[in-house]
Amino acid sequence: MTDPDDVAVTQKLALRVERFDEALAAMARAPAFARPGKMPPLLDAARLVLQEESGCAAMASRAQAIEEAGVFAGSDWATPQILVPSLSRGALRSADAGLVVIESLSQLRLLAIAQSWFLHPLMSSEQAHHYLTQVLALNLELLFAAPGEAERAVQGRLARVPRNLFAYLAETIGYEHVIDQLIDEIWRVLKQRPIQVDSVKDMITQIAVCRARRDIHWGGAGQGADRLVSSLYGPTQATREDPGLEEYQRRLDRMDAPALQYEASGFARAMHDTGLVSPYHAVILRHLLGQGDHLLVECLGLSSTGRDCLLCYSDLVHALIESAVFPGTAQAVYGLALMLERGILYQPPIAPALWRQLGLSLCVSAAERLQHRTDTAITPEARLLEGVLCMMGLPLGIGQGNNPTCQSARALSMWAFNDPDYLLQMVAWAARDDEIVMHFEGQAISSRESAGGVATEMPVDLDPVSLLVVPHLDRIYAEMGRRCVGRDGDPHRWVNPEFHGWWSGRGFHINVDVATGLLHELEDFLRHFYAAYHPMYNGNQPLIHPQPAGIAVTDSAARFIGWHAITILRVSLDPSGMMRVYFYNPNNDSGQDWGDGLVVSTSGCGEQFGEASLPFEQFASRLYIFHYDLLEYGEPAQVSQEELDRVMGYVHRSWGRERLAAGGLQAEG
């Protein structure tokens, strides 16, 4: 027997879906200019479907048709790869039904992509999955908590749409899976020690908020969340119940030295464990400024290297803490600790350059760019200093955000890693003069006089230093490319060494014919790469300087996505005895599945924080450009044909499968 109520519900949904299909057909049929007029009824029809319990499934199954009818055309939703998960919060809570509905349709489309119901030209299934996990994490309360009065007042019946959406998303992806996967995801990202941790902090905050509520049932999920939540909100005995910054200061005022030491080491442990810094940590570090350097060492969790460095440059460290470490710029603590550990203060120019940074007055445009969007208590100067410390401490933690500026991010990382005083010089120029001048084959190129860069819009989702310097670098990089127009071959041959530094090899190999886009002398290319980089074929010479290289990025289906700029950092045996290439990827998350069994590892295979790695053969199969030193270099390596065939097999099964349009700058990076 079928329940008559069920039948009625099914009929109602069927009717609404039918109306939606009519609206969708009208949209698809309409000439492009008339489509905007078809949108309001279409979105309204979609809203009625989505308000019904099983409506989301109906919409998800139509994802491709919805996209192809042009529903997302002409808006940010047209390019799902650039969508920012945190913006979904506002959109889904809006009183504007149209916004709620189109955001929901977009999420359902991403679900369809993630489930491989729909092969999207711009986004892989993993990317979509990754995006959805983040969206779910940022909206956990929509999943677990009963609707609040505010939600009802603002949205009325519309509130059913995001509710149904999240129930469906979580159901399809799996509830516990969501939480646990989210926590795994956060840990995986944190292991790469990114500088930009705002979104990670947002997600942890969401988890914390939801865990504090009794009306949310977690089941067995969420066990691994404790360390994450406590590292931000209660890493020590005296902060355990998240007492608030003022109360914590009062507690500190009453503590004796052993108690302070106990607190300090608690913070240091949490920080080095997660890479996250609690705002309380900033409070105690400032408090300890007057209490003797041994407590500072304890609070920064320094080893003997870092400790020596701190004691040598005590005044400078004090000044840096004074100017850079505030609850709103707490990550500066971690940057400072790791910078001291790197021992780079012993390079003669670094300390004076940091003193210059401390006294630097920012030009108006730099101050505007650095103004925190929400927290106005953070001064642009402190923010920049926080960024500088993080970059000096975590050169491999620099990310390009959602911007096509992989080249600039790579250059910043390379300088922070290899030539930190040059980086400080760049920052001073950009912050004080609003201009950077670099030279290309003897000709000066000013960032101010150069026309547009690779990025068409000003980046916003970057660390403070990148925020300031990347627009300059991007313009200079693009200008260098323009000066190579008309030359035979790939412009990176000339641009890379001039842009990154003298240590980039002037020798250059590329395995793609720029004119035709076809693979070109692949075997020869590989033999040369082995000869230059593989310790078994280059006389066991470890790589001395980081080298720029170009890779063909593929998605998990091994389809070509685009050219991308990376840095080769070292080639050596991993703990299991396999030869691996360790590299830096300016992409925000290096742990990617490139298809055909190639999964880029970011931890567990001997990687240091921020490094990505692949077995040598697999790495070679995605490489298309590398540099080497012309003078050091010998004969092509006598690699066994068997090994080369394996590498070429990887190439031919992935990005080498079809004709490729090569050339141009690595703008997609």
Partner: protein, 407 residues
Amino acid sequence: MTKNPDKGYVALLGWSLNAVEAAASFDRRYVVVAPDWAEDYCREHDIPYVPWNFERLNDRSMEIAQTLADMGVDVAIPLFEETVEWAGAINSVLLDNPRLLGQAMLMRDKSLMKRRAQLGGIRVGIFEEAHDRDDVMRFLKRVNQTLLKLDGDPNDPIHFKAFDKAGCLGHRVIRTPDDVDAIPDEEFPSLMESHLDGWEFAVEAWIHQGKIRFLNISEYVSLGYSVFVPASPELERYRPQITEQIEKLVKTFDIEFGFIHPEYFVTSDSEMYFGEVAYRPPGFKVFELLERVYGFNAYQALILSFDPKTTEEEIQAFFPKEVEDAQGYAGCFGVYPRRRVVSRLEIPEETEDHPYFESHELTAPLQETVTKRTAFGTHWGLVYFRGDEADTLKALLAHQETLDFYM
């Protein structure tokens, strides 16, 4: 859409996105004649466009006619009341028929058109022109005297309409001297009509070569609020008489081609009274309703019926059979806020949940205080319904008047 090279161009007078969309998806080549604010949009979307500002006819009228003639345009199609006389002027040149201008002028003046109808033997109510409030008072008194009302009896209302406005714009119902005082000066001169108790309905008729090719009856549920198509079986019963009336109208107004949209009353004794006629698409989105039930695009029908190069076969192939071929009934309801202060749009749940509900085009309120309605005025947006039963639809449309859409 591939265009038919054997046909010429048609010109659409006035900017209507739905009309342009229909033309772009039809086999006739077309050009949009619209004020220059439409220029950027047309250029951006490759819509053929001639800029023209439709003010009163003037000595430049010949210029636009010549421009269109040079482009190979065969006929101009008016989309709005304000472009009807322009179409007449232009078509009198394009089709070399000077009487078309005069015909258009008749269509633009409610008083003239009533007299013309009267001359043609069509029944009309009592009507008069009013130049000031005294005229209105006198008319109100005389009409009620005629009805043998005594002083103190509630008056039968009279209708007060601007001469040259479309639809319900400037339409007032006058019952008392206070109502008369409330008429602003700028609404004069205008037309006054006696009130007829009965069933008001409108007709959409496509004419080609002097013959009616498709005749739709639109039934009003309440004037200014709601309409549906095709009419209920009770009203469709009168189709033969209505068709006869329309044929009389076509003959009286000497209409060879195009589209007319007259309004009638049918009184309890089955007598038809002519209200007015327009030579342009109706307001209230009846075209969209027709497409919902019959599946043909009424704007494309407009192009067909105006284009002198349209063949008999095309006409035959294009139009469905009235009533028989309709898939159910489609209606729409014009929403007016019922409260004086509103802050948000909220479609009543019962409305949305009704299986007949299709869509709405209401938007969030721009102002908080609702202007008091004096005339029928402009609704804030339409709500669309469709279903199988005329009675259900009718009751549903009527019921909407009791609901709040703006809170």
